[in-house]
Symmetry: C2
Subunit: 196 residues, 2 copies
């Protein structure tokens, strides 16, 4: 197990838990603006191209955006309920909203928008999440043209990992993966077996 | 739903998800010693007596203890995979290890020790978690006398909540609960319906 890349372990876990709808749900911790931790469930939207970077879609109006602007560090805790595997993935987050000056990043944001279901996309047109609910009556059904590009509230987050802690509760094995300092596109990882 | 206490919502969720072994698993976020977030799965060990406080058992040798000593703030993210409910529970954590000067707290620690399975208890006799695994061979089976009290590494955490965010993805409803500033034993909560 010592020489296995953590990304392959994630792909294996996704495969062996793919019968569970929640297998792509992970918890993303950030540091709140009041310096206390924040933690919420987000959905894994795949690895970015051929890298180790993790893609997450989010609403630009949520508190996590403000938090990540102040402190871009985050840690994902991802527990697979059938295979009893936990990944703790620590890294820094790049926020890509519609105002991003990089055309390549804007293209990634658009790709992630169109890779989402229409139902997911329409959530970005709902009232501001977390604000008091003003209208007690049922919200009107939002219809969104399938060809419409990303709306203002749609935001792509890219987490670039630098430390991964893998725990397998069935085999009782634990591995830590630390990235080297190299800024190269293809970074390498040092793996160590640690006590569970 | 507006007047329901969040604790009752937790108890309801535990009941409706009780067929799943992982329903008591939650993710605890803290602030790391290097000021980046830390996040890991822990087990809900019940509410403390008749309070809203949440009990968690942990190994005193894990990194979270050092982190909580520097910053006692934490946020639990607890997602129930069958009922599609999420609780985000923010609060401060009291660390109760064997050196605690309060006899009442030591009693609580002992109660929590004996409420755990023998298998859980024996984990606190294993080699230091997170340190390099020195012995590649299988660890000898640890036998622990059922009458033995809490060992040095056993630590009880008590999280006292002050902010709870509840999201129900089936009904698409979201509530926030904020505790009042009263230091009374029975604190009260202000509830507000917010946009999901």
């Amino acid at each position: 197990m010592g020489s296995v890349a953590w990304k392959q372990l994630v792909l294996n876990a996704l495969e062996s838990n793919s019968h569970l709808n929640h297998s792509s749900f992970m918890q993303l911790a950030t540091i709140g603006t009041n310096r206390t931790p924040s933690n919420r469930t987000v959905v894994f939207r795949g690895f970015q191209d051929n890298t180790d970077n993790i893609q997450i879609n989010t609403d630009a109006r949520t508190r996590k955006i403000e938090e990540l602007k102040l402190c871009p560090s985050a840690e994902i805790c991802w527990y697979f309920t059938d295979s009893w595997e936990q990944f703790r993935i620590n890294g820094t987050v790049d926020i890509i909203d519609g105002s991003n000056p990089d055309p390549l990043k804007l293209q990634q944001r658009e790709n992630s928008w169109f890779a989402s279901s229409l139902r997911s996309r329409s959530q970005y047109l709902c009232p501001n999440p977390g604000l008091p609910r003003l209208n007690e009556e049922a919200q009107p059904e939002i219809s969104l043209d399938p060809s419409t590009g990303p709306v203002d509230a749609f935001c792509l987050l890219i987490l670039e990992p630098n430390l991964v802690d893998y725990l397998n509760l069935k085999s009782n094995q634990r591995l830590t993966f630390i990235s080297n300092e190299s800024a190269a596109a293809k970074k390498s990882w040092i793996v160590e077996r640690v006590n569970p």
